[in-house]
């Protein structure tokens, strides 16, 4: 069994208005040294696969097909083997 922790974010070229609002509001709270805010999505998937390579290939497909819109988002994931 493998557990994947998947992070989906807007590509750097895409302006994220939610992150801009959070940054602006942090400034209003006095947190004026916050230079940058990134808002993304986080997923955890546990799956049965025969090898780490097979698990990676499958998660890439899942992200490309569904979890990320590759037109405007990019993704990365951490994969760990977990007890069966």
């Amino acid at each position: 069994m493998y557990k994947a922790k998947i992070y989906v974010n807007y590509k750097p070229s895409v302006l994220d208005p939610k992150a801009e609002v959070i940054k602006k509001t942090l400034g209003r709270l006095g947190q004026t040294n916050v230079q940058d805010v990134l808002v993304g999505k986080y997923f955890e998937l546990t799956l049965q696969a025969n090898s780490e390579a097979a698990a990676r290939e499958q998660i890439d497909a899942i992200c490309d097909q569904m979890l990320a819109n590759v037109n405007m988002e990019s993704y990365r994931f951490d994969l760990t083997a977990v007890g069966a």
Partner: protein, 228 residues
């Protein structure tokens, strides 16, 4: 013209489209639920606005996996006319039938207003009832209508004349003021404004009728070609 109006769980403009095509324009229209797998025999497929599948994950991201979408891919690939409005536009970009993506409005506000538009290209199957440069007003009602595409894609869209409608006063941050665009083949159009909500003077205007009249003309031509 024989039109199919797709209906996903959470669609809320499907009845309006049916009304516009059937009652106002006097054409045949059928509601087709999302679990149907066949779209043969239709001249036009309409993908309505709303919040399909609750807009979970992203707008349109779940709808693209509905059974009827496989049939829609086949229908579009064969040159059938497809019109996606609002959430329908979002679904078409998610499904890869149109380039780019729709992200949150720059203001983060849901905007529900009559919006002035410029007809950028009146030589498409969806816009021949207008003239290029014509100013029309259609209602918009969306939170995620901010059109995004990378610079290369935008350049291609412009070079090919794929931009059909532009905002006169960009309300949501859309790249190149894009309110509606077609695919490269010209048989699939997605637009954020709602032409089906502007087909009767009683409801505030009839500027949306041109989209339906253009399609009636375009599909007449298609039937003639088949007959010959």
């Amino acid at each position: 013209m024989k039109a199919a109006v797709l209906s996903f769980p959470g669609s809320n403009c499907d009845e309006d489209l049916l009304w516009a095509v059937e009652t106002v324009c006097g054409q045949a229209a059928t509601m087709v639920p999302a679990d149907h797998t066949d779209l043969t025999g239709y001249d036009l497929v309409l993908v309505p606005g709303g919040f399909s599948y609750g807009d979970y994950l992203r707008s349109g991201a779940i709808a693209k996996f509905a059974p009827v979408m496989t049939a829609l891919q086949t229908f579009a690939a064969a040159g059938g006319y497809v019109l996606g409005i609002c959430n329908g536009f979002q679904i078409l970009t998610e499904a890869g039938l149109l380039p780019g993506a729709l992200q949150w409005n720059r203001s983060l506000q849901f905007i529900c207003e009559p919006e002035p538009l410029i007809v950028a290209n009146a030589n498409t199957a969806f816009s021949t009832a207008y003239t290029s440069g014509q100013r029309i007003v259609l209602p918009i009602a969306h939170g995620e209508g901010n059109y995004y595409a990378d610079p290369d894609t935008l350049a291609t869209l412009e070079a090919n004349g794929q931009v059909v409608f532009r905002y006169a006063h960009n309300p949501n941050g859309s790249a190149n003021d894009i309110a509606g665009l077609t695919n490269a083949q010209g048989n699939v159009l997605g637009m954020m404004p709602h032409p089906e909500r502007a087909v009767e003077a009683l409801l505030g205007g009839t500027d949306g009728l041109g989209v339906f009249r253009s399609l009636i003309e375009a599909t007449k031509g298609a039937s003639d070609r088949v007959a010959n």
